[in-house]
Amino acid sequence: MNVVFYLSAAIAVIATILVVTRVNAMHALLYLIVSLLAVAIIFYTLGAPFIAALEVIVYAGAIMVLFIFAIMLLNLGPHSEEQERIWMRATGWAGPVILAALLLAEIIYIIIGRSPTIGSAQPIQPAAVGAALYGPYLIGVELASILLLAALVGAYHLGHIRRALREASVEAAALRARTLESRPTGEQEPLGQPK
């Protein structure tokens, strides 16, 4: 069982690295789903089967799907990958990597500064979680539902695009596609494959 933990931890880390470094949004999303599934397995090995199921169903199944729908709605077009490559210059990574490395170093320093403690051997049943939810954390449940209601209403209103804006953006997308096809290739990154 320990092996499963370390293996799925490795998969999660690799998949997350790939998420952060892809140029295609779809690919990144799929890698993210892989990462989430690996994390679900980690949950299971830690004795939280209920949460593992929820991770798969809600996080990977609903939130990521929402991401996919949004990307499709955006209708970015084929030039988005070149755009991403242009944006992802190597110099832009130096600062974030350093900062994140510092933070990781500090976190690891704090964590391993104590004697190792072993997790408990028993899984925690969904019944216990449910009892906790509807016992001491009842207010949290109610607040979470109000939050979701607010998000629903907000997303509906915020997502409404005025007619003129939508048509203008559609035109702009078509224009972009036409100009990119007719532009000489010297200005952009050389493509790996012919169009």
Binding site: G95, P96, L99, A100, L103, E106, I107, I110
Partner: protein, 631 residues
Amino acid sequence: MLNLLWLVPVIPFASFLVLALFGRRFSRTLSAWIGVVSIGLSAALAVLVAVSFLTSPPAGNAFTQVLWTWISVGSFTPQIAFRLDALSLIMMLVVTFVSFLIHLYSAEYMEDEENYALFFAYMNLFVGSMLTLVLSDNLLLLYLGWEGVGLCSYLLIGFWYKDPKNGYAARKAFVVTRVGDTAMAVGLFLIFTQLGTLNIQDALTKAVQVWPVGSGMAVAAAALLLGGAVGKSAQLPLQTWLPDAMAGPTPVSALIHAATMVTAGVYLIARTHTIFALAPAVQLAVAIIGALTLLLAGFSALTQSDIKRVLAYSTISQIGYMFLALGVGAWSAAIFHFMTHAFFKALLFLGAGAIIITLHHEQNMFRMGGLRRQLPLVFWTFLIGAASLSALPLVTAGFFSKDLILYDAFASTSGSPWLWAAGITGALLTAVYTFRMVFLTFYGDARQQVTHQPGWRVNIPLVILAALSIIGGYIELPETLGNLPVFSNFTASILPAPSLARGGIGVLLPLQIVAALAALGGIYLAYLFFLRRPQLARSLSHARLGAALHRFWFSGWGFDWLYDHLLVYPYIWLARVDRTDVFDYIYQGLAALTRALWRGLSRTQAGMLRWYAAGVAVGAIVIIALVVVLL
């Protein structure tokens, strides 16, 4: 009658106020009347007070009139009080009388000038301050008068303010005397803290009790007072201001820079002579300063071409004699010389002024000549004054006073033959340069014609002063000539006679003969070089050494050059370096720092999401690091 003493200084002050406030509306005649009559009243009152004092002397030979208490802070209670004793009586009489004559003279001299009323206002303020100085019974009031006369000197030297040179001369006078004034102020502080009082008589009695002879405090106090005296009386090393002060109108030079203000230093030392007696080293310094100054100024006077500058250097030299007398303990002789000097020096200045104004403000002696026939009255009075200055034997007042000083310089216990030798050389020099002045101005060919004859307001003061220059000396006849020391007897209550180490008629007679020979010899030398064979003088002054000496003495022994390079130029350089006010950089720096910080901070507001996220990350790192490090 003695109670009228307070009016003597107050009347000039009142007249100053009237003329300063309303003078612009008065006619010239009225301003002159107010100015002259106020001093005349003051002089008359002074005579009345003097007569009363002499006929029925008050107890202790001193009369004090307290007007009110000026300041009252703890034990510091100086009063506005006037003290009349032998010394201040003489000073008061001389000051008021000579001032009156000079005021009368300047009514005509300044007739064509603008700011006529203001001139008399300043002159009256001066006389009031000078009288306060000599009559005050405590050092603080004396210092008030001291500063007052310094102020009036500045105002009057720069009276013709439209010419910047006059303003420069006035400033120079003020700044140089200020150096002395500061020393004197410190001396006053010392006296007050050590002796507990500024009342002169109390301070002097206390000093004798508290300070042993030669003690550090006495030396310090005496030296500081000497500093003040040196500044005001234009002695070494602060003598550079007096020749330039001749930029002022001639009556100013006569009154302030010949007869009265420059003798304030002499008065101060005479008044506080007890302290000087307690510090023999400083007293010796007084004598040496006097001797050096009289020689130095004598040589300089020999080379001048401006008639007023000759008289200025002559004043410096004669005050050197007074300092010499003070330095050897002959206090009374110094005051006696002050009196005769006031008469003949004022006479000489007024005469020079008459010449200047009738020759349309010509002051260069080499452009005058032959005025003997054109201005006969001026010539004769000037001649009498010159004779008195040169100490022509027996007939002039100057002879008696200068001779007394020379005798005391030789004979006194604090004196020495060297000091006497300096004095004799100075007497020779005095005769030479004085009669050089006379011969150049009045004899020879007339190079210019006088425009008009002076009026009665000029002539009468000249005649009166000439008479005094002759008979003024007869109140102190030495032992060889009648033995009638009326003057020293009168002042003996305040100014003790010097103790003589090498005295007696056997010494006095030869010294008198030598002095007489020096005076006559000097007159003959002047006659030889400047009247009979002027080419001798010319060839001397054109020779290499002669020309160099001439230049050196002409510039007053290079003191102006020295002070310029030592003090003035470094100060100007410093001011130029600090032109932008170095300390301002601190405040500008603060503002600049704030601006730099602002610019730096405003760059963090880039408006970019990733930048802000990075800020959050950095903040998290820093805080966790703090937790890790500190816990």
